[in-house]
C-alpha cells in the first residue's frame, strides 16, 4: 500500500528531543516513495490486481476513520452511512450536475459525509462502548432504509454512473482502471500521511489518553467530548472519501453501501489492523480483499468462514492487530 511507510517514524528508535519537522519530512518522503513504487507496479500488474488494490485502498480509508475512533476507545458499527453518503454524493454529482472530476468527486463525497455526520457528533460524543456502536449502527440503518425507499435515488437497485474525467480530460478506455487506481492510491497516501501526522499530534495523543482515562483528561484541562466529536467528523470525511472512490471504480451505487454487513467489514479491517499503524489499515484492507476474492473463487459462499478464522487467529496471537508486528513496544 502506498501509505505503508506512513507509520515509520513511530517505529524508529526514540531519539532525544525529536526534530519533528524532519520526522514529518521523512514520513512524507517514505509515503511518496511507496506511492511511486505502487504506481509503477500497477502499470505492469493485471487489471484484476489493480482493481483489487483500488478497492482495498478505498475501503481502507473508511477503516482508517474507524481506527481514529478506536484510538479514542469507541468503535462505530455504522460507518456504512458515511460510506454511502460519499458514494451517493459522487454518483449524484456525476449524473445530475455533470461534475465528473476523479479528484473532485471524492473530495465532495468526503465533505458531504462531514456535513451530514457533523450534527450527530455532539450527541455521539457523549456515548461509549456498545451505546456508541449501536447509535452509529442505527444511523446507518436509517440511511439504508431511506435509500431503499427513495426512488429518486434508484431505490433498492441503486443506479449507475459513467466514467469520471481527470482535470477535464476523458479517461482512455484501455487505461481507465489504472488511472482510477492511481487516483485512489494518491488520495489514500495523502490521507494516510495526514492521519499519521494527526495521530502523532497533541490532539492525537489526547485521543489515546481519552481511551484510557477520560476523567484525568478532563482534570488536565482537555475536552473529552470535543476529542470524540472531532474524531467522529474526521472518520466521516474518510468514509465519504472511500465511498466516492469505490463508486467511481465500480460505476454503480446501491443502498447496500449503508447496510450493517458493509459496516461490519470496515470494523473487521480496523480490528485486524489495530490502532497503532496507519499502514496496517491498508494492509488489513488488502488482506480482506484478497481473502474475499480467492475464497469467492475457490470456496463460493464460504469466504466468511475463511475470514472469520483469520480474524480469530489475529485476535488470539496479535490482539493489537497486524500493526503491532512492526510497532512493538510503542503504545502510540
Amino acid at each position: 500500500m502506498a501509505a505503508i511507510l506512513a507509520s515509520l517514524p513511530a517505529q524508529l528508535p526514540r531519539k532525544p528531543p525529536a526534530a519533528a519537522i524532519t520526522t514529518h519530512r521523512r514520513t512524507v518522503l517514505a509515503g511518496l516513495v511507496v506511492l511511486v513504487l505502487l504506481a509503477v507496479a500497477g502499470f505492469f500488474a493485471p487489471k484484476w490486481l489493480t482493481f483489487l488494490v483500488t478497492m482495498a485502498a478505498a475501503n481502507g480509508l473508511v477503516s482508517l476513520g474507524i481506527v481514529g475512533l478506536m484510538r479514542g476507545g469507541v468503535v462505530p458499527f455504522g460507518q456504512g452511512m458515511v460510506f454511502a453518503i460519499g458514494g451517493y454524493t459522487a454518483a449524484l454529482l456525476f449524473n445530475k450536475l455533470g461534475f465528473t472530476d476523479a479528484l473532485g468527486l471524492p473530495l465532495a463525497g468526503g465533505l458531504a459525509a462531514v456535513l451530514i455526520a457533523a450534527p450527530f457528533a455532539p450527541l455521539l460524543s457523549r456515548y461509549r462502548g456498545i451505546f456508541f456502536a449501536m447509535l452509529t449502527l442505527a444511523l446507518s440503518m436509517v440511511t439504508y432504509g431511506l435509500l431503499m425507499k427513495l426512488e429518486v435515488l434508484g431505490g433498492s437497485d441503486g443506479f449507475n454512473l459513467g466514467r469520471p474525467t481527470l482535470f477535464g480530460n476523458k479517461l482512455p478506455d484501455a487505461r481507465v482502471g489504472y488511472i482510477l487506481y492511481l487516483v485512489t492510491l494518491f488520495v489514500a497516501t495523502v490521507i494516510g500521511l495526514l492521519a499519521r501526522v494527526y495521530f502523532d499530534s497533541t490532539r492525537g495523543l489526547v485521543t489515546l489518553a481519552v481511551r484510557e482515562n477520560e476523567l484525568r483528561v478532563e482534570y488536565l484541562g482537555g475536552s473529552v467530548r470535543q476529542a470524540m466529536a472531532i474524531n467522529f467528523v474526521l472518520a466521516a470525511f474518510c468514509g465519504g472519501l472511500g465511498g466516492a472512490l469505490v463508486v467511481m471504480s465500480l460505476g454503480h451505487i446501491e443502498p447496500n453501501f449503508s447496510f450493517w454487513t458493509t459496516s461490519g467489514e470496515f470494523v473487521f479491517v480496523a480490528i485486524l489492523a489495530g490502532w497503532q499503524s496507519v499502514a496496517a489499515v491498508f494492509v488489513a484492507s488488502t488482506v480482506l480483499e484478497v481473502v474475499r476474492s480467492f475464497s469467492s473463487a475457490y470456496f463460493p459462499n464460504t469466504w466468511q468462514l475463511a475470514l472469520g478464522l483469520f480474524l480469530l487467529f489475529v485476535i488470539r496471537f496479535l490482539p493489537r492487530g497486524i500493526g503491532s508486528l512492526w510497532m512493538k513496544g510503542d503504545a502510540r
Binding site: A18, Y198, D200, R203, V217
Partner: protein
C-alpha cells in the same frame, strides 16, 4: 512568606448523599502560598471537599471562590483552566503509555490550542516534560510503561502531571497512601522539594500525622463533614476534638 490574598474560599459549603451528610457548612479561607493539610478519619469529608473544589461534585449549598472568582457552577475542565490541579488517591495515569508520554498528555491537555499537526513530541514539550521528570526524580523511568511502575513512582508521576499546568492551587489527595512507612518521608521530601520551585498554594489530604506536622503550615481537621479544628499544626493536632475524632486518642469528655 505567604501573601494574605485568599486563593481559595469556601462559604457555607454543604453536600449530602441521600441521608449521609458528606459536608456541612464548610467555611474556610486559604491564603495564597499556604500549605494546608486536610486531616480526618475515613468518610470525614476531606475528599468530598476536594472533589467540590475541583468541580467533580457540585455543592448542594454554599459557594467556592478561587482567587476572587466563583467557581461553584463550573465543570472540572473549566476549573483546571483557571489554575487548579489535583492528584488522586489512586493515581489516574495512562498505564499503556510511557512515563514520558503521560507527561506529554498532560502538556497536550494544558495546551489551549490543541493542534492537529503540532507534534506531541515537539522540543518545547519534551523539554518541559523532562524538566519536571528531573525535579521528581523520575527521569530514569522516562521510557518505561506506567503499568510496569511501582506505586510510589506512579504517585510521583501523578503529581508531576498535575504540575504541568503550573497551577495556582494544587490539591494532593493522600500523596503518601499506599507507600511503605520508610518510603513516606523520602517521597514527601521529593514532592516538597519539587514544589519548592513553585509559588503555589498546596492543599493535601493526609492521614500520617508526622507528615502533616512536618510539611503543613496549617491543618484543617474534618469530622462528619464538618471542620472541627483549623490552625497551625501544633495547635490543631493538640486540640481535644482532633485527638478524639482524628487520631483516636482516649480524651475525657
Amino acid at each position: 512568606m505567604t501573601s494574605m490574598t485568599p486563593m481559595l474560599e469556601a462559604h457555607g459549603v454543604g453536600k449530602r448523599f441521600g441521608a449521609v451528610v458528606a459536608a456541612a457548612d464548610i467555611s474556610i479561607s486559604i491564603a495564597s502560598g499556604e500549605r494546608v493539610s486536610l486531616i480526618g478519619s475515613n468518610g470525614a469529608g476531606k475528599t468530598t471537599f476536594v472533589n467540590m473544589i475541583t468541580g467533580y461534585l457540585k455543592p448542594d449549598e454554599g459557594r467556592i471562590v478561587l482567587d476572587g472568582r466563583d467557581i461553584t457552577p463550573l465543570h472540572p475542565r473549566a476549573i483546571t483552566r483557571l489554575g487548579v490541579a489535583r492528584s488522586f488517591q489512586i493515581p489516574q495515569l495512562y498505564g499503556d503509555l510511557t512515563v514520558l508520554d503521560n507527561m506529554l498528555v498532560a502538556n497536550a491537555c494544558h495546551d489551549q490550542a490543541l493542534s492537529f499537526w503540532q507534534p506531541a513530541r515537539r522540543r518545547s514539550a519534551l523539554d518541559r516534560a523532562d524538566a519536571l521528570l528531573e525535579r521528581f526524580r523520575l527521569a530514569e523511568h522516562r521510557a518505561r510503561r506506567v503499568a510496569e511502575l511501582p506505586g510510589g513512582v506512579r504517585k510521583l508521576l501523578d503529581i508531576a502531571m498535575a504540575l504541568t499546568a503550573a497551577p495556582k492551587l494544587l490539591l494532593l489527595d493522600e500523596p503518601t497512601s499506599g507507600v511503605s512507612a520508610e518510603e513516606k518521608f523520602p517521597m514527601m521530601e521529593t514532592i516538597m522539594s519539587a514544589l519548592g520551585h513553585e509559588a503555589m498554594t498546596v492543599v493535601f489530604v493526609e492521614h500520617d500525622m508526622d507528615i502533616v506536622e512536618r510539611y503543613a503550615s496549617r491543618v484543617v481537621a474534618f469530622y462528619s463533614g464538618r471542620i472541627i479544628a483549623d490552625g497551625a499544626p501544633n495547635e490543631a493536632l493538640a486540640s481535644d476534638d482532633v485527638r478524639r475524632y482524628v487520631t483516636g486518642e482516649l480524651v475525657p469528655e
